[in-house]
C-alpha cells in the first residue's frame, strides 16, 4: 500500500546485492557432486561380468550391445561367457541406471562424469576396449557397499573388481556348486524381512 511493499521489494533486492553469488563459474569452480550421481563413462568390471546381458535387456532404449561366445570351460554349469563385444552408445543414453540396477553381479556401474561432448556420434559409443582400459571410478548409484565405504568417485582411487562387489556376486559361483537358488531376491531389492540390505565387507577373492 502507498508503495511501501514496493520499497520492501527494493530492499530485498538490495540485500541480495550484498550476498555472495549463488552460481559458480563452471570450468574454474565446480559444485560438489554427490557420489550417487549417475554420470557418463560407465564402469565395467570384466572379471565380474558373466555376459548374461541383463543390462542390455533392461535398458529402455536398447543401447547396450553385447556379443558373447561360450567359454572354453563348462557354460552349462553356470560358468561365464566370453565377452566379444560390449558397446554402450551413450549418445542415446538417458542415464536412468536401470542397467546398473539389473546387473546381478555388480559388474556394471554408473560413472560420474558429465563432460563428454563430442562432434561425432561414433565417438559417443563406448566400446569394450575403452571399457576395459578406463580408470575405474564407479558411482555409488545402486551400490550401497560403496557408500558404506564412504567412497567418492571424484578424486577417489580407482577401485579393483574385488573391492566393489557384495556377497551376492558369489551367487553364480554357488549355482555352479549346485546350490538351490530358487526364490532369491534380485540384489538390491528391498528384502521383505526388513533387515535392510545386507552388506558384507568387500569380497576379496572368489570365495
Amino acid at each position: 500500500m502507498y508503495g511501501l511493499a514496493m520499497a520492501k521489494g527494493l530492499m530485498v533486492t538490495l540485500k541480495n546485492l550484498t550476498k555472495k553469488p549463488f552460481t559458480v563459474q563452471y570450468p574454474e569452480e565446480r559444485l560438489k557432486q554427490h557420489p550417487r550421481f549417475r554420470g557418463e563413462e560407465f564402469v565395467w568390471y570384466e572379471e565380474r561380468c558373466t555376459g548374461c546381458a541383463s543390462c542390455a535387456k533392461y535398458c529402455p532404449l536398447g543401447i547396450i550391445k553385447i556379443v558373447t561366445s561360450p567359454s572354453e570351460t563348462a557354460p552349462a554349469e553356470g560358468d561365464k561367457y566370453r565377452l566379444e563385444e560390449f558397446d554402450i552408445a551413450i549418445n542415446r543414453c538417458m542415464f536412468c541406471g536401470l542397467c546398473v540396477e539389473a546387473c546381478p553381479y555388480d559388474a556394471l556401474f554408473m560413472g560420474s562424469g558429465f563432460e563428454q561432448g563430442s562432434y561425432s556420434r561414433q565417438d559417443m559409443v563406448i566400446t569394450i576396449d575403452e571399457l576395459r582400459q578406463a580408470d575405474k571410478h564407479p558411482s555409488t548409484f545402486y551400490r550401497p557397499q560403496l557408500e558404506a565405504q564412504e567412497y567418492d568417485p571424484r578424486g577417489g582411487r580407482p577401485l579393483d573388481w574385488r573391492q566393489v562387489g557384495r556377497e551376492s556376486w558369489q551367487w553364480h559361483q554357488r549355482e555352479k556348486a549346485g546350490m538351490r537358488i530358487a526364490g532369491r531376491p534380485a540384489p538390491g531389492d528391498g528384502d521383505p524381512d526388513g533387515e535392510g540390505n545386507q552388506l558384507s565387507a568387500p569380497a576379496t577373492g572368489e570365495g
Partner: protein, 376 residues
C-alpha cells in the same frame, strides 16, 4: 470494437508461439486481437508430442518409470509416484512404510520445486527481469541437490519403482534436508516480501481473468487452478495415498468469490501450498522409521491378464493419473495418461477472451502448463 462512422478498426490475428519467450514451451495460441483486446483464442498444441503412451506399450513396467520423468519435467518425482501407484494397484502390492514416507517426502520436495518455478514464471511473465525467478531457481537448485543425493539425478530422477523407491536415502541426506528447510524458511520469507504484496503485482493480477468454480468443474480443471476458484479439492486429502493420511496439512483456498478465482488467487494458492509442503516434509522426516524401502517385486512384472488400474495423485499442476491395462505380458497393453496441464487448458478461452495481451501472458503463467505433459 470501435466502429464509428469514420473510425473502423480491423481485428488482427497473431500467432503467439510456438516460438515465443513466454508460452512455457512449444505452445501456440492463435489469437485475434482488437487492438490489445482478445476477441478469439485458439490453443494449438502437439509440437512436443513424443508418443509417451505408445512408447509405454513397448517397454516393461519398470522401464516406463523413465518415461514418466519426461512428462512434466519439472515435477518428475510426482509423475513417478502416480505411475508407481497405478502399477501397485495393478499388481495388488503395497509399498513398505519407509518407502511410502520417502515417496511422500520426495513428491513434496518436488512440489515445492515445481511451484517455485510456477511462481517464478508468473513473475517473469509479469515483466520482472528474472529477479524473482532467479531467487526461485536458487531454492529449487537446493532441492535438485537433494534429489541428486536421493537418486543420482536432478531432473529425470526415476527414483520410484513399483513397490516403493529403488533405494534408501543416503545418511548425509537427512542433515542436508534439515539444512535446506532451515535456509528455505528465510528464502521463502524473502520471496514473499519481494512479490506477495507488491502493488504492481497486485494491480496486474487482482481481478484479472476470473475462472468461476462452475466453469472450472465443467472443464475438469484440477489442482491449484481449481482451488483458486474456491474449492478445496485435493486428492491428497480426498483420497490419501502413500503417507498423506499420516501427516497433517491444510489445503489453502482463497476466500470464495462468485466471480471466480483470478490470477492472483492462482498465484497465491501456489505460494501457500509451498508452506504446506514444507510442513509435510518436516512431518515425514520426523515420522520416518528404518525399514525396507521396496516391496519384494521383481524388475520384470507380469500382472494378471485383463487387470486394469487407475492410479492418481495430486501433482503440482492438478490431478495426474495413469490408467493401465494389462494383457498378462511384461508391458502394459494400454497406458493412458490423464495429464492435468492438458485438461487445465480446456478453460483457455474462458480465461482469455476479453482480456488484454499482457493479461493473456500472465494468465497462461498462472495456469502453469507444461508442454511435456500437454503433448505427452
Amino acid at each position: 470494437m470501435i466502429n464509428g462512422p469514420n473510425i473502423r478498426t480491423e481485428p488482427m490475428t497473431v500467432n503467439i508461439g510456438p516460438q515465443h519467450p513466454s508460452t512455457h514451451g512449444v505452445f501456440r495460441l492463435r489469437v485475434t486481437f482488437d487492438g490489445e483486446e482478445i476477441l478469439q483464442v485458439e490453443p494449438i498444441f502437439g509440437y512436443l508430442h513424443r508418443g509417451t503412451e505408445k512408447l509405454a506399450e513397448e517397454r516393461n513396467y519398470t522401464q516406463v518409470v523413465t518415461l514418466t520423468d519426461r512428462l512434466d519435467y519439472v515435477s518428475s518425482m510426482i509423475n513417478n509416484q502416480a505411475y508407481c501407484l497405478a502399477v501397485e494397484k495393478l499388481l495388488g502390492v503395497e509399498a513398505p512404510m519407509r518407502g511410502k514416507y520417502l515417496r511422500t517426502l520426495a513428491a513434496e520436495l518436488q512440489r515445492i520445486a515445481a511451484h517455485l518455478m510456477g511462481i517464478g514464471f508468473i513473475l517473469q511473465d509479469l515483466g520482472t527481469l528474472g529477479t524473482p525467478l532467479m531467487y526461485c531457481f536458487r531454492s529449487r537448485e537446493r532441492i535438485l541437490d537433494l534429489f541428486e543425493m536421493l537418486c543420482g539425478a536432478r531432473i529425470t530422477v526415476s527414483y520410484m519403482r513399483p513397490g516403493g523407491v529403488f533405494f534408501d536415502a543416503p545418511p548425509d541426506f537427512w542433515p542436508a534436508l534439515e539444512q535446506f528447510l532451515r535456509d528455505f524458511d528465510e528464502e521463502y520469507k524473502e520471496l514473499g516480501q519481494l512479490i506477495l504484496e507488491n502493488e504492481i503485482v497486485m494491480v496486474r493480477t487482482r481481478g484479472v481473468s476470473y475462472l468461476p468454480l462452475e466453469a472450472a468443474i465443467n472443464g475438469s480443471v484440477s489442482g491449484p487452478v481449481l482451488r483458486a476458484s474456491g474449492l478445496g479439492w485435493d486428492w491428497r486429502k480426498v483420497e490419501p495415498y502413500d503417507a498423506y493420511d499420516l501427516v497433517e496439512f491444510d489445503v489453502p483456498v482463497p476466500p470464495y468469490n462468485p466471480a471466480g478465482g483470478d490470477n492472483y488467487d492462482r498465484f497465491w494458492v501456489r505460494v501457500q501450498e509451498i508452506r504446506q509442503s514444507v510442513r509435510i516434509i518436516r512431518q515425514c522426516a520426523a515420522q520416518i522409521e528404518p525399514g525396507p524401502v521396496r516391496a519384494a517385486v521383481p524388475l520384470v512384472l507380469r500382472p494378471e491378464p485383463g487387470a486394469e488400474a487407475y492410479g492418481r495423485v495430486e501433482a503440482s499442476k492438478g490431478e495426474l493419473a495413469f490408467y493401465l491395462v494389462s494383457d498378462g505380458g511384461i508391458s502394459p497393453y494400454r497406458c493412458k495418461i490423464r495429464s492435468p496441464s492438458l485438461l487445465n487448458l480446456t478453460v483457455t478461452e474462458h480465461l482469455l477472451v476479453g482480456w488484454k495481451l499482457a493479461d493473456m501472458i500472465v494468465t497462461l503463467g498462472s495456469v502453469d502448463i507444461n508442454m511435456g505433459e500437454v503433448d505427452r
